[in-house]
């Protein structure tokens, strides 16, 4: 076969830079053995702390981690949060560099690489950030600081691996479990926040009221009579027996107008008022009951821990 001298071109430089970014970022990526068959990926985020995805950890005991040099050792689960799909493991003296996070969000169209380690070898897939938007809520109510949707192929080991830019800086942790299998990245700010709380408490505290709601329109005549500024509200369609709202006198059929002085038009508006700092702190609720507006004082409780997967 014919061979040829190498040429220095922009195309070759791009190729070399991508490979260098993969090599550099790959030194902080481990394989996590916490399920059957294919291992998942994890990122050495802080010294001795590995960030992974919740949905790829199917057991809480006997978890092992394979390092980039191929050695495997035990790791302990420090905490997990199904609502952000993040989990944190502790590893004694891994002797690895930590990831270099990039705090600012990428722009749509930015060239990115998703890395994984589904076993001993590092894997990569490339593409672009397809959509960047403001904060959003997962279906379990957790707030994610920035929406980062990706246009790239998902292979084994995608979840729990980092999304990196061409300079090997980490833009977040990848998961396929928060958007019906579509590739998505949990941004650095969210990861930092969740990791800190999981290391402190092992779980993410979330306040809850024990109500189910549904969007409803207040009839115009009633809205006029009650002098409401908007006709959008939430109908209480379920009240958990013995739950915080039940204890504080919320009734099935109440129409919720405001929580903590802010109008609620969507069930996510209720979740937005129920952060971890709200547990045990009274919150005012304005409701329509029997054609009259009433104000109730509610004391949110702490959301019970979900059953382990």
């Amino acid at each position: 076969m014919v061979t040829e001298e190498t040429m220095s071109t922009v195309l070759q430089s791009l190729s070399t830079e991508l490979a260098a970014a993969v090599e550099s970022a790959g030194r902080a990526i481990v394989a996590i053995h916490a399920r059957r068959r294919i291992p998942a990926s994890g990122v050495h985020w802080r010294p001795g702390v590995i960030v992974a995805t919740h949905h790829t950890i199917n057991r809480e005991e006997g978890i092992t981690v394979t390092l980039p040099d191929g050695t495997t050792g035990p790791a302990t689960l420090a905490g997990r949060d199904p609502s952000t799909d993040l989990a944190v493991l502790r590893l004694s003296d891994p002797g690895l560099p930590t990831a270099s996070p990039r705090p600012d969000a990428p722009k749509a169209g930015e060239l990115v690489i998703a890395l994984g380690r589904p076993g001993s070898s590092l894997t990569a897939s490339w593409g672009v950030v397809s959509r960047v938007a403001g904060p959003w809520r997962t279906w379990q109510g957790a707030e994610i600081d920035t929406l980062l949707r990706l246009d790239l192929a998902i292979y084994d080991g995608f979840s729990g691996g980092p999304l990196i830019d061409s300079g090997a800086r980490v833009l977040g942790i990848n998961t396929s479990a928060l958007a019906r299998g579509a590739p998505l990245t949990i941004p650095v700010a969210t990861v930092e926040r969740v990791v800190t709380e999981l290391l402190e408490r092992g779980t993410i505290r979330r306040a809850y009221l024990g109500i189910g709601t549904q969007e409803v329109r207040v009839p115009q005549s009633l809205a006029r009579t009650l002098d409401l500024t908007s006709d959008a509200a939430l109908l209480i369609v379920s009240v958990e027996p013995g739950g915080p709202a039940d204890r504080d006198g919320v009734l099935l059929g109440d129409v919720l107008l405001e929580l903590d002085g802010a109008a609620v038009r969507d069930p996510s508006d209720v979740l937005a008022k129920l952060g971890g700092d709200r547990v045990g702190r009274p919150i005012a609720a304005r409701v329509i009951r029997g054609g009259q507006v009433k104000t109730l004082q509610l004391s949110p409780g702490e959301r019970p821990k979900p059953q382990a997967a």
Partner: protein, 200 residues
């Protein structure tokens, strides 16, 4: 707004794809659809070979078409169904734009790759991707090069090349969305060890 880097990138990519396209042929076998093949200079260069996948060639005779439109009859001179490789020989009356190989360095995860083929009869289509996983372990040639590049039927037997258009493998199959290519080193070793090729 000018984008000098992007413009240079586009120009260079077009040039690399153009060179690669000249080294890629169409392989047509009745009843087997169309595949791709790579012009390969064997040994002293006295014989014109096309390397393709065994699954692209049915029987011993096939028709190939070069990128300049030249149509030639080719004969299968070696075949290895296990590695999914076939070598075709044809009479060439001039020097051909043979594929250029890459001897070194070893492939790195993340480096750019270009695949060429004829998906759905679209002749000479190119697609760009990266190396998905390290292909070399302990200096041994692996069974497959794994690439994150989108292939379709019609890419079979065609070249997978690096950022400079140097041949690194022959695209052979897609598994779980991942492109698998037979490494060029495997083909080299296979051709050298192929008795059928030597005796014919």
């Amino acid at each position: 707004m000018s984008a000098p880097i992007t413009a240079r990138l586009a120009r260079e990519l077009a040039a690399v794809v153009d060179r690669l396209r000249r080294a890629t042929v169409q392989v047509r076998t009745r009843g087997a659809g169309m595949g791709a093949g790579v012009l390969w200079r064997a040994g002293d260069g006295s014989r014109a070979l096309v390397i393709t996948n065994a699954h692209v060639v049915r029987g011993n005779r096939t028709t190939i078409e070069l990128s300049d439109g030249t149509v030639a009859s080719a004969r299968a001179v070696a075949r290895d169904p296990k590695r999914d490789l076939a070598a075709l020989e044809f009479a060439a009356d001039r020097d051909l734009p043979y594929a250029v190989g890459r001897e070194s360095p070893p492939l790195e995860v993340g480096e750019l790759v270009i695949a060429l083929g004829h998906p759905g009869g679209l002749v000479g289509a190119a697609t760009l991707g990266i190396i998905h996983a390290a292909s070399e372990r302990d200096g041994r040639t692996p069974r497959w090069i794994q690439a994150d590049v989108r292939l379709a039927p019609g890419f079979s037997g065609g070249p997978l090349a690096d950022a400079q258009g140097r041949l690194i493998g022959i695209n052979t199959m897609v598994r779980g969305g991942l492109a698998l290519a037979v490494p060029a080193a495997t083909i080299d070793a296979w051709l050298r060890g192929s008795r059928a090729l030597v005796s014919s």
